[in-house]
């Protein structure tokens, strides 16, 4: 017993193990079995007391080394070895040669001899299935573990329940196989009887085990190289698919599908790591398997574990894996999604974990082989490179798109005449490139001190019609007059609840500025949880903002020009109308002048008749002169060439004079004067004010064809003298109350075209009143009459 312990200790110490291993290599590659046997015998002479037996053992070693000299698979090496040592052990002993797979944290049964069920060769057990003591001894310390009678050990069978060969044994030994510092596997011996294996037997088997470890190592290396070649072929195929496509979404989709189909898993899931944790970015699911769902967040426990550990994590059975019980990993366990086995590998990008690639097996457990795990890791690496390349390409494409959009916008500004259309195009371009199809434009209303919704595209139909400065991202951009980037809209202090409800996740707003003057704000938003706006986006949106400002400016100039042209056209047509109507009006007095003078020339008239006709000619000539004077007066007043001859006068006296002058031929229009006798004298141009009164009175008469009293009233009101001329005539429609004061307006109105005059009386009157610093207007009820009124300041105002 002591000897065995010493040996095992020696065998597992570095130098010893190495020398044996070198020896094993030599043996495996050469035919010098005798030399090996000799050395073996020399080393072990203490143990080999019996010559007969030592001869047998030498023969055994010889057979073994001869058997292992050819190129063998790991399984063949294991079978050869077990066959060789079978004769050394009792027939009831079950011997298993296990291969340790470090990546997968599992052991595979390479070969098994004896026992009721010899078919367990090829089975894979997770290391977790071993009793903890065995795990520590074998994998942690690489030392042998021997149990003489398991029944003496408390709950041994319970702890080893997952590993049948171990669980049912009473005698049990596990011997590590180490080659070139690598734990290759282990030799497990078990027997249903207690103390079935002697120390001598163990000693010999352990010795042979070290010998076979080297052969097994070589065989495994060859097998691994083969499988690596296979794996690389798959990875190459996938990477070829990856690089044949420039669309990053398609790259990932095809890679996931290829990987899923190759390994026969249920799901392949790529999650992205962001500030808010992991989010499912891409997913492939086998037919009939329910996908996890793109955008799923925070419930990916295995992915979270892989990120935390920074390495690949394989789960054979999620129901019993203690690592997944950690509540901080996520609120949904793998089992909720039907996943029983899974493996996750983190994807690094630029020194950080950018995401996790996961294989799911739904409805059944799965022992992941290291080959499968390495394939997953290989694809993850390819994916990373591809994603990097795709991101660069995408950035390039986006830049191109931006340039195109900007170019398009400027072309439109040059070509399109409808500014609304251009604005929409700019919003369209900005929205498509930055706002996922949505963009808003608010204009600053200087008068109301509010931002008014001017235009929007996409889903922002319910945008608030007005915003205060500082309100929301738009108001903030206006308040600060700087671009505002908000990437946490849900928790941002200035966020609008309505936008939050509409799913805004991130927003970007830039102020619109023209020549230092704030014009408004251009805003885009994103509802995608992973969307982020950066300075580059702000710069781009500002360019669109500049385009919008240019459009608005152009639109305003065009509108100004249109209005100016319209006004000119109106004025022009009014002037030509004026010429035609004025010449028409001139012809009436001319008819009298021409007619009476013709009678005087051709008829035999009495002196009395002659004088009367000459008087008529004179009246018509005066009338003509008055019309010409009025026209010129208005022209001079409008061009500011007329000055007032102010003097202190009594307006009541002027009114009385005007009323008296018109009463003579007022006929059926009695003129009532109802003046405030206490009116003070005021500074005014008496002749011009008399002209105003004569105009208003003669209008009152002319526009009351059915007669009716005309009343003039004066009073003092708010520092002004207020003069009202009321008639009971036809009245003026509400939309013409201002128009009657416009030059030539009468001439455009069919209803009053029979009224004689130049049509300049009211415009002239208003001009005179305004030159005095007063105001002239009319109130009227159609069919009932009008009240023309004007005010004059009590204190003289400098002539305008």
């Amino acid at each position: 017993m002591y000897a065995v312990a010493v040996y095992v200790a020696l065998a597992l110490s570095g130098t010893r193990a190495e020398s044996i291993e070198i020896l094993a290599l030599v043996v495996a590659c050469s035919v010098a079995a005798g030399i090996v046997a000799w050395r073996f015998a020399t080393n072990m002479d203490v143990a080999l007391r019996d010559t007969e037996r030592s001869r047998e053992e030498l023969a055994l070693v010889g057979r073994l080394s001869a058997g292992l000299s050819g190129p063998l698979s790991p399984t063949e090496v294991a079978t050869q070895f077990l066959t060789a040592i079978k004769g050394l052990l009792p027939a009831s002993v079950v011997a298993s040669l296990l291969q340790y797979e470090e990546t997968a944290e599992s052991v595979r049964v390479l070969a098994q001899l004896g026992g009721p069920d010899a078919s367990s060769a090829g089975a894979v057990y997770p290391v977790g299935a071993f009793p903890p003591v065995l795990r520590t001894r074998l994998i942690g310390e690489r030392r042998s573990y021997v149990v003489d009678d398991a029944e003496a050990m408390p709950d041994w069978s319970t702890r080893a329940a997952d590993f049948p060969v171990v669980a049912t044994a009473r005698s049990f030994a596990m011997l590590p196989l180490v080659s070139r510092s690598r734990l290759i596997g282990a030799l497990a011996l078990s027997d249903a009887r207690p103390k079935a294996i002697t120390r001598d037997q163990l000693q010999l088997v352990a010795l042979l085990g070290q010998y076979v470890a080297g052969a097994l190592h070589n065989a495994l290396s060859i097998a691994e190289a083969d499988s690596r070649a296979d794996r690389e072929a798959v990875v190459n195929r996938i990477s070829q698919r990856i690089y044949s496509n420039l669309d990053p979404d398609a790259v990932v989709a095809s890679a996931l599908e290829e990987l899923g189909a190759e390994l026969g898993v249920s799901r392949v899931v790529l999650s992205g790591a962001g500030e808010t944790g992991l989010t499912v970015l891409h997913e492939w699911a086998a037919p009939g398997v329910e996908p996890i769902g793109l955008g799923t967040q925070g419930s990916l426990p295995l992915s979270a574990l892989a990120v935390r550990e920074g390495r690949t994590i394989a789960v054979r059975d999620a129901r019993t894996d203690a690592r997944l019980a950690d509540p901080t990993l996520g609120d949904r366990t793998l089992i909720d999604r039907g996943t029983l086995a899974a493996v996750a590998t983190p994807i690094g990008l630029g020194g950080q974990v950018a995401g996790v690639l996961v294989l799911d097996q739904v409805g059944e457990t799965r022992a992941w082989t290291s080959q499968e795990i390495r394939l997953l890791e290989g694809v993850a690496r390819e994916l990373r490179t591809a994603l990097e390349a795709a991101q660069l390409l995408l950035a390039r494409q986006r830049e191109n798109q931006r340039m195109l959009a900007l170019h398009r916008a400027s072309t439109l500004i040059a070509a399109e005449t409808d500014p609304t259309e251009v604005l929409r195009e700019i919003l369209e371009a900005a929205g498509t490139l930055l706002g996922r199809g949505s963009a808003l434009l608010y204009r600053w209303d200087e008068h109301a001190a509010l931002l008014r919704h001017a235009e929007s595209i996409g889903a922002e139909r319910n945008a608030p019609p007005v915003l205060r400065s500082g309100e929301g991202v738009t108001g903030q951009a206006f308040l600060t007059q700087k671009p505002v980037i908000v990437n946490d809209y849900a928790t941002w202090e200035h966020a609008l609840p309505s936008n939050r409800d509409a799913g805004w996740q991130a927003a970007l707003a830039v102020p619109l500025i023209r020549a230092g003057q704030p014009l408004g704000v251009l805003t885009v938003r994103a509802t995608n949880a992973l969307a982020r706006f950066d300075d580059e986006d702000a710069r781009l949106l500002s360019l669109f903002g500049d385009q919008a400002v240019a459009t608005l400016t152009t639109a305003e100039l065009v509108e100004q020009q249109r209005r100016a042209v319209e006004q000119l056209e109106k004025l022009n047509s009014a002037k030509s109308n004026f010429v035609s109507i004025v010449s028409h009006e001139f012809r009436t007095p001319l008819t009298g002048i021409q007619g009476f003078s013709e009678l005087m020339r051709d008829e035999d008239l009495s002196v009395v008749e002659m004088k009367e006709y000459a008087g008529d000619i004179n009246k018509d000539a005066q009338r003509l002169n008055r019309m010409i004077t009025e026209m010129l007066d208005l022209d001079r007043m409008e061009s500011g060439q007329m000055t007032l001859n102010r003097e202190r006068s009594d307006i009541n006296a002027v009114i009385a004079e005007a009323a008296e002058r018109l009463s003579a031929n007022a006929g059926q229009h009695p003129i009532h004067v109802n003046c405030d006798p206490a009116l003070p004298l005021i500074e005014m141009d008496t002749d011009k004010i008399k002209q105003v009164l004569l105009n208003l009175l003669s209008n009152a008469i002319k526009y009351s064809p059915d007669g009716g009293a005309i009343t003039i009233t004066t009073r003092v009101e708010g520092g002004m003298v207020h003069v009202l001329v009321r008639d009971l005539g036809m009245g003026i429609p509400p939309d013409s109350l201002e128009k009657v004061f416009e030059r030539y307006s009468r001439l455009e109105s069919g209803a009053t075209r029979y009224i004689q005059g130049t049509g300049l009386g009211l415009p002239i009157s208003r001009q005179i009143v305004e030159m005095h610093g007063g105001r002239a207007w009319v109130e009227s009820t159609l069919g009932e009459g009008s009240v023309f009124q004007f005010t004059l300041p009590l204190v003289a105002v400098a002539s305008v």
């Binding site: 001319l590 008819t591 007619g595 008529d616 064809p705 029979y754």
Partner: protein, 123 residues
């Protein structure tokens, strides 16, 4: 002796017509607006009507329409006296039953010739 009605709102022109037609031997009646003119025409059934176009209450064109609409007055020659004698106004005058247009200002000779032309021969 023929009956002639003049509708004219300008007192000076009315006076001129009165003077010009004093020795013509015709029965000349005057109206100060279209409404008065229509009543006078229906009342007196004149042989010829002269009418201003721009008049209060009923303008010349409305008067023309009213005359043409009634069988009693539809046949009476109607001359519009107007200062606007552009093509558009002449067409408009015809549309409203005008037999002709006498442009302002007119000479006495033109007025008398128009009267002579439009009165039935033998009257």
């Amino acid at each position: 002796m023929a009956k002639i009605v003049f509708c004219e709102d300008d007192p000076m022109i009315r006076k001129l017509i009165t003077a010009a037609m004093r020795d013509s031997g015709h029965d000349v009646r005057l109206a100060v607006d279209g409404e008065e003119g229509l009543a006078l025409i229906r009342d007196t059934r004149p042989d010829l009507v002269f009418s201003d176009v721009s008049m209060p209450k009923l303008d010349g064109y409305q008067l023309g329409d009213a005359l043409r609409a009634s069988p009693d007055t539809a046949h009476i020659p109607l001359v519009f006296v107007t200062a606007s004698v552009q093509r558009a106004q002449i067409i408009e005058a015809e549309r409203h039953g005008g037999t002709g247009v006498l442009p302002k200002p007119f000479t006495m000779a033109e007025l008398r010739k128009r009267v002579a032309d439009l009165l039935p021969v033998g009257r």
